[in-house]
């Protein structure tokens, strides 16, 4: 599964995209926790970021479909 990072998340993880292997039936919340463990610098922001699964924002309870493309969108404040 591919996770695309945007804005500040890209800086904190030091990557544009991350490849993740999760067991079938894993949820968005599982993915969030896994990313937090793998990238401790990202952990704080992750809790306050939106995750979109196949271009649709999803809450943590959603089961990730097979081959889902996930986007991690942290909030942005500049104007």
């Amino acid at each position: 599964m591919k996770v695309r990072l945007f804005a500040r998340a890209r800086d904190l993880a030091g990557a544009d995209t991350i490849d993740v292997d999760l067991p079938a039936g894993a949820t968005v919340g599982d993915l969030r926790r896994l990313l937090g463990r793998r990238y401790p610098a990202l952990a704080g922001l992750l809790q306050h970021s939106a995750l979109a699964v196949n271009d649709d924002f999803a809450d943590d309870a959603l089961t990730l479909p097979v081959n889902a493309e996930v986007a991690l969108l942290p909030p942005v404040s500049g104007g």
Partner: protein, 394 residues
């Protein structure tokens, strides 16, 4: 989907000069005379006359919006000019609203401008927003974004949202119950300091031009009742990849503001909600003051040739602009991996640009057992102001 605003155009008249001015609109079937009258009958409130507010103010005035309100209390600074095209070099030091007024009136004197030279607060937001048909969020901080969102939800005003960071832009139209609000997307703000502002993280000067133009387009479409508004969609612009993507956002029935059973029915304290006030009261606690030093004290000690270790925790592009003589660069994001390089028996004076990041570094190093630490109050900006006026400020 069209969601035309209830505008009364019966008494709106276009003069010959206005017909000439708006002729390229008038000959388009999507605007036409009726549409141009709608634009003239409409009122828009711009919150912020900065990066996003600049293209918004200029294009909305040029397009013939009848009444534009501007909220900003800032003064033009040299560092604004790279992107805030409402303001010119000669305007540095003037209130932004004054230069905005001059520039917008030069573009289109037909527009009625209402100037609110104040900070938008929970006390004044509802009164300022109420008279307008559309609100455009061009603010540069989380407390004002949440305040704008909540006030718009309470007053049922469409909130045309835009936000920028370095090369990344976001835009959407929040208008419950037709679609979600900002809180449906981001229920709670990130902890203070977690998401840098433009002043801390930088921004490509052109980026707000593009995002502001997207917001202006959405506002005009809402007034015309034409096309598909960005309601329920978050548009993401990535200038580095030069790509646009959109994501579906649904209204959250459990949203505390726009949900089915809202728990927030009046404006709250947004500085507190975003942790800004809490942070102020925590950072310079009295117990911490002994852990601070001033630029004057540091200069005296350097002049006495004392062997002070100066740790600069800014990022490399900032270090390239200016440095305190003899300082060592170790950027804050790398500190958790590299603090072992530091000598914990030696006194360390930590500094950044203005003192926030270095305070975090001091706290982190204390947790690792370092004891001889001092945070440089005011950072390198204070050094440039009080010790070395020839040093460039950024």
């Amino acid at each position: 989907m069209s969601s035309a605003l209830p505008l009364n155009v019966d008494r709106v008249h276009l003069s010959s000069q206005e017909v000439a001015r708006y002729s390229r609109h008038l000959i388009m079937p999507e605007v036409g005379l009726d549409g141009q009258k709608r634009l003239k009958a409409a009122s828009i409130l711009l919150i912020g006359a900065g990066g996003l507010g600049s293209p918004l103010g200029l294009y909305l005035a040029a397009a013939g919006i009848g009444r534009i309100g501007l909220v900003d209390f800032d003064v033009v600074d040299f560092s604004n000019l790279q992107r805030q095209i409402l303001h010119g070099t000669a305007d540095v030091g003037r209130p932004k609203l004054h230069s905005a007024r001059d520039r917008i009136q030069a573009v289109n004197p037909e527009v009625q401008l209402d100037l609110y030279e104040t900070k938008l607060t929970s006390a004044n937001a509802l009164d300022i927003i109420r008279p307008y048909d559309i609100v455009i969020d061009g603010t540069d901080n989380f407390p004002t974004r949440y305040l704008t969102n909540d006030a718009c939800v309470l007053l049922k005003k469409p909130n045309v949202y835009g936000s920028i960071f370095r090369f990344d832009g976001q835009a959407s139209v929040f208008h419950p119950p037709q679609g979600p609000c900002y809180r449906c997307l981001y229920p709670e703000p990130p902890p203070p300091g977690e998401v840098p502002s433009c002043a801390e993280g930088g921004v490509l000067g052109i980026l707000p031009g593009l995002v502001g133009c997207i917001q202006a387009t959405e506002a005009v479409k809402l007034i015309l009742g034409n096309g598909e508004p960005l309601i329920g969609r978050l548009l993401l612009y990535d200038a580095l990849r030069m790509s646009f993507r959109e994501f579906k956002v649904r209204r959250n029935p459990k949203c505390p503001v726009c949900g089915d059973k809202p728990s927030i029915t009046a404006l709250i304290d947004y500085e507190q909600f975003c942790g800004v006030r809490g942070q102020e009261s925590h950072a310079p606690a009295p117990a911490d003051q002994q852990g601070e030093t001033t630029v004057e004290e540091l200069k005296r000690r350097l002049d006495r040739k004392e062997a002070v270790f100066i740790l600069d925790v800014r990022n490399p592009p900032e270090y390239a602009i200016c440095q305190i003589p003899g300082s060592t660069l170790l950027p804050l994001p790398e500190l958790p991996q590299r603090f072992g390089e530091l000598d914990r028996n030696r006194e360390i004076v930590v500094h950044c640009k203005s003192g926030m990041r270095s305070a975090k570094a001091v706290q982190f190093l204390r947790e690792q057992g370092f004891t001889k630490l001092k945070n440089l109050k005011g950072g390198i900006l204070a050094w440039a102001e009080q010790i070395d006026p020839s040093m460039p400020k950024y």
